[in-house]
Symmetry: C2
Subunit: 577 residues, 2 copies
């Protein structure tokens, strides 16, 4: 015989700190779930506050306000059960899930496993929970836990399953990096079959500073098979009827012993009855669907798009400006910005110098034409000459060097910022991860701006994304010449990136090995690099930490981005080689 429950997963995009806005969004989803006759509607981890609230969590008033906000959700839960992430406050604060039913706060679950690696700092704020409640909805038993809780084989999911949970609702704020969606599904699938429970994996969606939450919620049955897959990078209310075979699991003597041992250690295991308001009337029919996870490049492009859109809009900007050099990096950033914001909200600034080639002029304008965005021209020659003139006396007797190159980049940075100040436009910077890694960028020059869209995208992937974009559009958006002309900063005559750097197809694997994988010099040598090249690259990475420290935030798409994902000392004499 089958037991059934209709569940809605509210894959929402909250804004950090926007308590009233988030509550409004939550209540509107509750209303929709009610119309669909769902018995239960779940919301992501810290849905009330947005994730991660960072040091807002140290403000007692913020915690109080978040609890008042939760109370508004409680009051709106007539006739339905709501599971929602918020910050609970006892002697310490907890990353918590409220279980609310028919306007009553039934219970609060405290996240047990607190991530404190990568971009996560949860030990900075939260106390770990020590309770594993399960909830009885009539004859169905449900466990609720939070994000990292499900990643540990012996964690809350196992204990809740052992104490009878047939369904586990795991609420998340899980940040995107490449391949995460498929990785999560595999992991949760194993977890479901091991624990013999149905797992509802609900993720947040949206951009928050350097992070993108990619959505992609799903439901997996107790055999580990997918029942439903939601959209990536979009808000969505997924609703499904979940069917459970009656008395699915017998609790063995060994299971009982394991639970007993936990309780001996002071952990609390309990069953809590939830008297949900009976759902009346005919349930509307649901369509079941399984979206397919996006292929890698489409996924990355969409992450960049959502991250950009949300940074711009959540921070109240209405227009962005991009320095268009005629190179491929700024072309990609402009294409993303147009897809994120609409072409009316994107402006290009073309700032030629005497070193700018005719090709760059043509390519920048072809790009702007393809994207149908306005492009303004502000030549930097006069300003550059005036700088040189002003400095000529104090610089007398010195050779032309990097100083003059940086000056040009910084004049362009100043002009972009002047447009930002004058018209309220946000400057999007165009540097890629390869440049950011080796410091092949000018601080306060091309690094100047509010948001660094492709900061975590290696140069070789910039090409791939541009190619993907043209194919996807079925037309040339990114001018063809950009794919084969040699990259150049055009800050002196006949300059090429390869004057300073190894070719990108050689460089990028070293960067990945050193920055993302913590490989040693010897391991990098074994990849087939010559020793001089590897030494030079590692040394460049180490010595440009001071630049990265002053870089604008940008979207994480790899397993380790710069920013709070990689915390490196500036003052550092360690030599890996």
């Amino acid at each position: 015989m089958l037991k059934k429950i209709r569940v809605s997963l509210a894959q929402i995009n909250p804004v950090v700190g926007d308590l009233s806005g988030n509550v409004k969004k939550i209540i509107s989803c509750i209303q929709k779930a009610r119309e669909l006759k769902s018995e239960l509607v779940a919301f992501p981890e810290l849905a009330i506050t947005g994730y991660p609230p960072e040091d807002l969590l140290l403000k007692p008033q913020f915690i109080k306000d978040n609890i008042s906000a939760l109370d508004k959700v409680r009051a709106a839960s007539r006739g339905i059960t709501v599971v929602a992430g918020f910050v609970d406050s006892r002697k310490a604060i907890y990353n918590a899930a409220a279980v609310i039913s028919n306007r009553r706060l039934i219970d609060v679950y405290h996240k047990k496993i607190l991530p404190n690696y990568g971009v996560f700092d949860e030990f900075r704020y939260f106390q770990a929970g020590r309770r594993y409640p399960v909830y009885k909805f009539g004859d169905i038993t449900v466990g609720v836990n939070i994000c990292e809780d499900i990643w540990d084989k012996d964690g809350p999911t196992r204990v809740q399953a052992l104490s009878g949970a047939e369904i586990i609702i795991n609420i998340n704020a899980s940040a995107y990096h490449m391949g995460q969606a498929a990785f999560r599904e595999n992991l949760i699938s194993t977890c479901a079959s091991e624990s013999q429970a149905i797992i509802i994996y609900l993720n947040m969606v949206g951009g928050q500073d350097e992070l993108v939450f990619d959505g992609g919620s799903f439901i997996i049955n107790s055999q580990g098979n997918i029942i439903m897959r939601g959209k990536q990078f979009r808000e969505e209310l997924l609703t499904a009827d979940i069917e459970i075979k009656k008395t699915r699991r017998r609790v063995s003597q060994t299971d009982k012993k394991e639970l007993h041992a936990l309780m001996q250690k002071g952990e609390i295991i309990e069953k809590i009855k939830v008297s949900s308001g009976a759902v009346k009337g005919q349930k509307p029919k649901l369509k079941s669907y399984k979206n397919v996870w996006m292929p890698a490049l489409e996924e990355v492009y969409n992450a960049l798009l959502l991250g950009t859109k949300d940074y711009v809009q959540k921070n109240g900007f209405h227009h962005v400006v991009i320095g268009l050099s005629g190179g491929i990096d700024s072309a990609l950033v402009a294409a993303i910005a147009v897809d994120a914001l609409g072409k009316e909200k994107v402006g290009g600034l073309y700032m030629p110098s005497p070193y700018t080639s005719q090709e760059s002029f043509e390519d920048a304008h072809a790009l702007a034409g393809n994207l149908d965005i306005k492009i303004l021209t502000v030549p930097i020659d006069d300003i550059y000459k005036t700088y040189l003139n002003t400095l000529s006396e104090t610089f007398k007797g010195t050779e032309q060097d990097i100083t003059e190159e940086n000056l040009q980049a910084r004049i362009r940075g100043n002009i972009l910022m002047a447009f930002s100040n004058k018209f309220g436009w946000l400057v999007l910077t165009t540097g890629n991860k390869s440049e950011m890694s080796v410091g092949y960028a000018t601080l306060y020059g091309d690094m100047a701006g509010g948001f660094a869209v492709i900061k975590d995208v290696p140069k070789t992937m910039v090409y791939d994304l541009c190619k993907w974009k043209n194919e996807r559009e079925g037309r040339t958006v990114i001018p063809e010449r950009l794919f084969w002309k040699e990259p150049s900063a055009e800050l002196k005559p006949d300059q090429r990136d390869t004057d300073t750097l190894p070719p990108y197809p050689l460089l990028d694997p070293i960067l990945k090995a050193y920055v993302e994988e913590d490989k040693s010099f010897n391991e990098i040598m074994k990849m087939g690099c010559d020793s001089e090249c590897a030494q030079k690259v590692i040394s460049m990475i180490d010595h440009s930490e001071y630049k990265r420290r002053q870089a604008p935030p940008g979207i994480k798409i790899t397993s380790r981005a710069f920013g709070k994902d990689r915390r490196f000392p500036i003052t550092n004499r360690y030599k890996s080689y």
Copy 2:
């Protein structure tokens, strides 16, 4: 009857990542301690790697190299016992103290209490220890623990004392903020009398990016009274004969029960014999001394001095350059730089515009004269005019506004950076904490530079420090007019800071309450602020997070600095008011 042991505390200044340099320094201290016939010499927390090594700790090769480095210390420990901080590596890594005696590694203690608040991220890297060893040196029993371990009443110090430790050696990398030295002494004094043990408190010294370790090691007897106090902000080898009354403490039945209960929980308590090489020959006589903790302003000034000196020198710079505006902030920074590096290594750059007053010209030059540093003049008029001219067409029809002010600040930033690029000079920025808090600074303008010396010093304290400096010198270093002329950015005619901000004596307390103490709007109102002013200030703080994210590092001197001490979302819609 008295038992005696001679102990040396090596209050050293290691460099993060400089494994061989740190080992060299350690071995040289061992040699000196041996000459003084010490039985034991102790080194700070993570003395081998420097503190904090941050994400270097994620590199397996770095951990291996640190263990090889420790082995060199072991090999140099003939005839003496050495306690030294390093990173131990088992299945996980530990913040550890090696106990080495006469070239044998006797034991490794693992830090139990890992700080993960403020500037600390120790859960990111380390596993917590579960052992409380004590060491028998003949008839003297010694416990070793690390930093935070001593802050918990029921932590390792208590357990080690209960299991017989007469001396606790607590090795630290404890970062400076105002009043820390006296606070530590009080705390440790209570701890010593509660645990009835002598406590040797050894701290690191030196600057590391945003942190200054202030030294100030000391020894406290089991009645809680100070025996010896070391220097603040200097390297030092403190040596003392420590006397212990025999059979000082009887272990009660309650104590035994407490230890038993711990062991039940899987914690390990053990006594380990250390056969130290016998110290032969006549011991040289020691002078005992108790330095007095510096008064507040002297302490802050010295922290700024050491932080600046170490940032400059450890990063290999030989000269700094400072934009001298004729204001008090740049005057203080220049004075600190001269004290830190010597006047030959400091250059001033005076960059007047048409809005620069005659007073500013005089004051900048008077300051340079008083400090006996060179001052170069680079007027920005021509460059500014050329920018305006270049932008005139695109900006046609717009009003003059903040854009033109920021342009001037950014031209100055570019000129400073041009000097940095051309001559390899490090740019010291001159913004104070009040400006950084409310965003009264130009990104890529006056915020441009490598190191922000007074970033954590509120404006009112800038005045106090300058006054202190003049008094200390017994002459006018900071020109008198700077104390009473009204602060102005001089970016437009007749501009005053108070056009935009409340007067600093009103502003600074609000900033402290909101930024450092997480006070709510209502609490701030209760301090006597008017509501409009408090709202404006809080809103300015919240809205300038994006600027702070791109600010250079600077020295922490308050209980909460900007930087990794305060991790705030940029995208944030929370309104505290």
